[in-house]
């Protein structure tokens, strides 16, 4: 048995990225009995925090940022995790098994490397330079946007995806005028199906949101460093005081360029979350192969930053089971809480098993070839959803067994 820090002790696990997925991986490893050093490297100088409330309660002013803390550096250090915050990984040497760090050109050796650098808000070429243009990804972004959303202000939301529409709903509750510009004619149809997407967009119209679907921002009118109007490719002009760009998030992989790892909007990894020799990826940055869905995909939902770390920790402790989560996301839209379990198949419409889209509560299930693929629900009674979730989980397990036995 080697003494801590003594000669011959393995360098242990290095986790790059100290947000939800990275810190959860470190904690799960230690709780699972991992005995060698664990080093957590993070470029943000704040404690790991939870992001979903940023577009919900935080923006409404109902949730304090302090309540979002997932853990503190002191908590992590108390679990024998070495935390290096304010340090940025700048490169990776797969052969030498070392992570390169900023400032002093330091090198951090690893036995296993966990990449958990997450994602960052995509920028809009035309809009980024202006002072009243926001994105929403970090706690600081939420604080800045919240300060700008005063009653009577005109907000232009560029991008009608989940975050854009969630902010639109929150902004309406704050007395803000909202216009959403979205290139797709039926925003979110790929995530929710056509009928549910229509239902959601109708909800926004009923709440006074000006939806400009099938349109893009082609130009801007500015007054010095502020945007005063968005000029759409249709020629329409939308006057704005504040703009939110919500066009998705791109994986943060710049530091891995040239490392030899396969990067494709994410760290391409296999069904064991492995990207290379001794290298794993977890959370928003990972584009892992999903053995049930039979494709590589980047799951950007919150549960993936919870389940992924637990699974990866077990793998690093010696288990070998594929990571095949049932994807899950939820969104708060006005008084509706919409939840989707599984992946809604393209072109498939739901069969309503409880209520319907005109009712206050509903549960819809999606099937292809008689197989359950997804369950969607709005404000549903838990007991109306649970049997379908169990069936869906069972479906994934059966599919996994079939894949593993070569059928």
């Amino acid at each position: 048995v080697s003494s801590p820090g003594g000669p011959g002790r393995a360098p242990g696990v290095v986790v790059v990225g100290a947000s939800a997925a990275g810190s959860a991986t470190a904690v799960a490893l230690r709780r699972g009995g991992y005995a060698d050093p664990i080093t957590l490297v993070g470029d943000e100088s704040v404690d790991p925090y939870d992001r979903p409330p940023l577009s919900k309660g935080v923006l409404k002013g109902e949730v304090d940022l302090q309540a979002l803390k997932l853990s503190t550096v002191a908590d992590l250090e108390g679990q024998d995790i070495e935390v290096r915050v304010g340090r940025r990984a700048t490169g990776l040497d797969l052969h030498a098994r070392e992570v390169h760090l900023d400032e002093d050109g330091g090198r951090l050796p690893y036995s296993s490397l966990v990449i958990a650098t997450g994602a960052s808000a995509r920028k809009h070429d035309l809009l980024t330079p202006y002072s009243n243009v926001h994105v929403l990804r970090t706690a600081a972004d939420a604080v800045a946007l919240r300060a700008a959303l005063r009653p009577g202000v005109r907000l232009g939301v560029v991008g009608g995806g989940l975050i854009g529409l969630e902010v639109a709903a929150t902004a309406r509750a704050l007395g803000v005028s909202v216009t959403v510009v979205e290139p797709a004619l039926l925003s979110l149809a790929d995530r929710l199906s056509g009928s549910v997407a229509n239902w959601l967009l109708d909800l926004h119209v009923a709440n006074g949101v000006d939806l400009r679907l099938g349109m893009q921002v082609g130009d801007v009118v500015s007054d010095g460093d502020a945007v005063t109007a968005l000029v759409l490719d249709s020629g329409d002009v939308v006057d704005v005081d504040v703009v939110l760009v919500a066009i998705g998030a791109g994986a943060s992989t710049a530091w891995l360029e040239g490392s030899g790892l396969r990067i494709d909007d994410g760290v391409v990894s296999d069904e064991f979350q492995q990207a290379g020799d001794g290298v794993y990826a977890v959370g928003d940055v990972a584009r892992s192969y999903h053995p049930v869905l039979r494709r590589h995909l980047r799951l950007e939902n919150r549960t993936n930053a919870t389940e992924g770390p637990l699974h990866l920790a077990r793998t690093l402790l010696g288990e070998r089971r594929p990571y095949a989560p049932v994807p899950f996301f939820w969104t708060d839209q006005y008084v509706r809480k919409v939840q989707v379990f599984g992946v809604v198949p393209r072109g498939v419409e739901p069969e309503f098993v409880d209520g319907n889209l005109a009712a206050e509560k509903w549960v819809g299930v999606f099937r292809t070839d008689g197989r359950l693929c997804a369950v969607a629900a709005s404000n549903a009674v838990p007991k109306a959803v649970m049997p379908w979730r169990r069936e869906l989980n069972q479906q994934y397990q059966e599919c996994l067994r079939a894949v593993r036995s070569g059928n």
Partner: protein, 67 residues
């Protein structure tokens, strides 16, 4: 062991119930999770309680091991 569920943080996903229905349940009206009347001194219950807390997507379940 002591379990605290932050009702303000709970989003009603029901993941705790999915992995540990013997420990957690959800209210019918708003789907908020609650702890069932269980013996938290039992090792099996503790294992389930931890698994349920770890599955929460909203970090709403706090497990205090030291009691």
């Amino acid at each position: 062991m002591k379990i605290e569920i932050d009702e303000g943080k709970c989003i009603g996903a029901g993941n705790c119930v999915m992995v540990a229905e013997e420990v957690y349940d959800q209210r019918d009206d708003d789907a908020v999770a609650f702890l069932l009347d269980v013996d938290l001194d039992s090792a099996d219950v503790q294992t389930s309680a931890r698994a349920g807390a770890a599955a929460c997507p909203a970090a709403a379940i706090r497990v205090n091991e030291g009691m």
